[in-house]
């Protein structure tokens, strides 16, 4: 019987976790990658003693942009158009994919190179381009690896983080027909050689956007490898896809965000390449695309914007720090969540993109420890947003009936002191009958992995009463 892997979809979160939680190799890969990222981040965050103020200012700038998003978007559109770009608007993932495929496939164009874009992943762009008949090549090394493996990314900034060098070596040897090597230098060299040829023959370059500067209509794209520069330089057409929340007012504010993003994402003061693209190639320039298309996507963002309790989720700059620091992410990896956007931020925004019924398990897949909110460079209170989702999901009676029954019973009992005290007494009398082999109380599910304490002979209240009755 062949084993069919569970589809990486949010409704499968339970099974996806079960398949991963006892995998020591995955755990090792995750621990190594997340620890390295956190150590590197801490070293450069220490450059400033006012990191907290930087976060606060960044938070307020992003909020300001959302408060005036109509103004800033109009200005951005005007300026980008004046610079020669074509600005398009898409209501949902399907619209965006259709629009991009239509532009890409014009004039018989056949080959697209793509640099890493989470928005692209969100709308499943690569598959859409392939269905539209374009050979589409992921060019970020991590994305290239998972494209070869036919897997979705498992991290916002490091898509192949779940794989070890050995697994990647095996994959390259199978798919590219090279001699097996697990040396990262060698594997990178092979990918460079293969992809360089793809860049030179590509007709279309597709990219995401990190920031969009309203005052000049400029796109800002950050990266380390150079593949985004190549994708936006060599092909004749550059198509960029972004949500409207990427807007920033001007270059002054950009300077703060670049400072925060590099440090939070990869522990760099500034990433290797920051491209600032304003329109297509100008008449006096030697290279660059002849056409620049900017596709601005809604896909639930406007709904989020109108939702006062969850609006903050739009501040996210996709650095991935909340994933690295999350103890749950460190155990299950991105695929465990079944969502393109994993980790704390993923659990906040996936219910918007995939619907709260399909993603109902995600906001609960957190111990609410709050490490995510503390590390977030724009200070989104991620764990509080998870609480907001929990209230909406449980409030709509989407929890399991057993859970609802337990909660209802607990509250009915705790609402009446006498009943609560009686329940405690019953627990003490009958508790010994529920003894687990480890000597503790047998509690369903809990006792499978941990000992639960046996109830003590007396409650606090009983101890306190006895104390009161004692002659002083």
């Amino acid at each position: 019987m062949t084993h069919r892997p569970t589809p990486i979809e949010p409704e499968n979160i339970g099974r996806l976790i079960a398949e991963r939680i006892h995998d020591p190799r995955l755990r090792g890969n995750l621990a190594r990658a997340t620890t390295t990222s956190l150590v590197k981040r801490a070293a450069v965050v220490a450059d400033y003693d006012d990191w907290e103020s930087m976060r606060a200012v960044a938070h307020d700038i992003k909020r300001h942009v959302l408060d005036h998003a109509d103004d800033y978007l109009a200005r951005f559109e005007r300026q980008a158009t004046a610079a020669g770009a074509t600005v398009h608007f898409a209501g949902d993932a399907e619209d965006a994919s259709r629009l991009i495929c239509e532009i890409a496939a014009r004039h018989g164009r056949r080959v697209a190179v793509k640099s890493k874009s989470m928005t692209g992943e969100e709308i499943d762009l690569t598959h859409a381009l392939e269905r539209a008949g374009l050979e589409t090549i992921e060019t970020d090394l991590g994305e290239y690896i998972i494209q070869l493996a036919e897997e979705p990314p498992s991290h916002i900034t490091a898509p192949a983080l779940h794989k070890s060098r050995g697994e990647i070596g095996q994959l390259f040897s199978e798919k590219l027909g090279i001699e097996y090597s697990d040396d990262p230098e060698r594997l990178t060299e092979v990918a460079r050689a293969v992809l360089r040829e793809d860049f030179l023959r590509a007709d279309v370059g597709v990219s995401g956007v990190n920031f969009a500067i309203a005052e000049s209509g400029t796109l800002c794209i950050v990266e380390n490898e150079g593949n985004a520069r190549l994708s936006t330089t060599l092909p004749r057409v550059h198509i960029a896809v972004m949500g409207f929340e990427k807007l920033l007012p001007d270059f002054e504010t950009l300077s703060l965000f670049l400072n925060l993003l590099g440090r939070s994402a990869t522990g760099q003061r500034l990433t290797c390449y920051t491209s600032l693209i304003t329109g297509p190639r100008r008449a006096d320039e030697h290279d660059g695309p002849d056409e620049l298309h900017i596709v601005i996507l809604d896909n639930g963002r406007a709904r989020l914007l109108a939702d006062a309790a969850l609006r903050e989720a739009l501040l996210c700059i996709r650095c991935g720090a909340c994933l690295n620091v999350c103890p749950v992410y460190q155990k299950i990896g991105g695929h465990g969540y079944g969502s393109i956007y994993p980790g704390p931020i993923g659990s906040v925004i996936t219910p918007i993109f995939r619907g709260e019924t399909r993603a109902a398990g995600l906001p609960f897949a957190s111990s609410l420890c709050g490490a995510c909110a503390d590390i977030c460079p724009v200070h989104i209170d991620l764990h509080h947003l998870l609480l907001t989702w929990r209230a909406r999901i449980s409030g709509k009676r989407k929890g399991k009936w057993t859970e609802r029954l337990i909660m209802w019973t607990f509250v009915r009992v705790a609402a009446r002191t006498a009943l609560f005290d009686l329940a405690g007494r019953l627990l003490r009398v009958f508790g010994p009958l529920l003894r687990s082999r480890d000597g503790g109380l047998r509690v369903p599910i809990w006792s499978d992995t941990r000992t639960f304490p046996a109830p003590p002979p007396r409650s606090f209240k009983q101890c306190w009463r006895a104390d009161q009755e004692r002659p002083s």
């Binding site: 978007l73 990262p184 297509p280 100008r282 809604d298």
Partner: protein
């Protein structure tokens, strides 16, 4: 209603009535009170930070010193592509490189126009691309380059090695101080500005740092203290 109209209607509905520009000004003031704004435009700091990011930094007294240094960096017979910057012309770099039997091509001589695979190949096969930086950022050790009639995007991207000259006077404390320059370049001058903070690199395989993925594997910054010419 078009997708555009729907998006604008939604954004307008969520907008607040506060004054945008007053708010923006007060945010600028808060931004300018942050520590990262207050660093020094310091060559030593620039050098340290650039080296920490894997860049090679060399410091030269003047243009002829810089020309000698660059010629010494390039190996015999390598293919070089040179930006048409007045600085390069004034220092006699092309002649120096030719003396080392290097082939020297000026950016203006490569028409990377529509469907010219040969031009792309010329860039991809080059060993060295030489450019001039618009500015240097002391707090990150990065430089700012831009596309123009004398400098292509490809010259700093496709060759195996990128050498950038940086007149010391162009070093500013941080990206914040470079904001007016970036605004000028974007609004008036060019389609492409790039901040280069080191050699092309990746850590996508087990977080092991490997340089030279898609862009130049080696990035050399030649700081010129006196770039005013002899």
């Amino acid at each position: 209603m078009s997708a555009r109209d729907r998006m604008f209607a939604a954004l307008r509905a969520a907008a607040t009535a506060t004054d945008r520009d007053t708010e923006r000004m007060s945010l600028h003031a808060r931004l300018d009170a942050l520590a990262f704004r207050a660093g020094a435009a310091d060559v030593a700091l620039f050098t340290t930070r650039a080296r920490e990011s894997g860049s090679t930094v060399l410091r030269c007294a003047d243009l002829s010193d810089a020309a000698r240094t660059i010629v010494a960096l390039v190996e015999e017979g390598q293919r070089c592509i040179l930006a048409d910057d007045p600085l390069c012309a004034s220092m006699g770099l092309a002649a120096g490189l030719a003396g080392k039997s290097c082939s020297v091509t000026a950016v203006r001589d490569i028409t990377l126009g529509r469907d010219n695979p040969d031009a792309r190949r010329a860039y991809a096969d080059a060993h060295v691309g030489i450019t001039v930086a618009r500015a240097g950022l002391a707090d990150s050790g990065a430089i700012i380059i831009s596309s123009s009639d004398c400098e292509s995007r490809s010259v700093s991207l496709l060759p195996a090695r990128h050498i950038a000259m940086l007149p010391a006077g162009r070093i500013v404390a941080s990206l914040r101080q470079a904001a007016p320059l970036l605004r000028h370049l974007a609004l008036d001058a060019t389609s492409a500005v790039t901040l280069v903070g080191g050699p092309s690199k990746t850590a996508d395989i087990e977080k092991v740092l490997v340089t030279g993925v898609h862009g130049p594997g080696e990035f050399v910054i030649v700081i010129i203290d006196d770039a005013e010419g002899q």
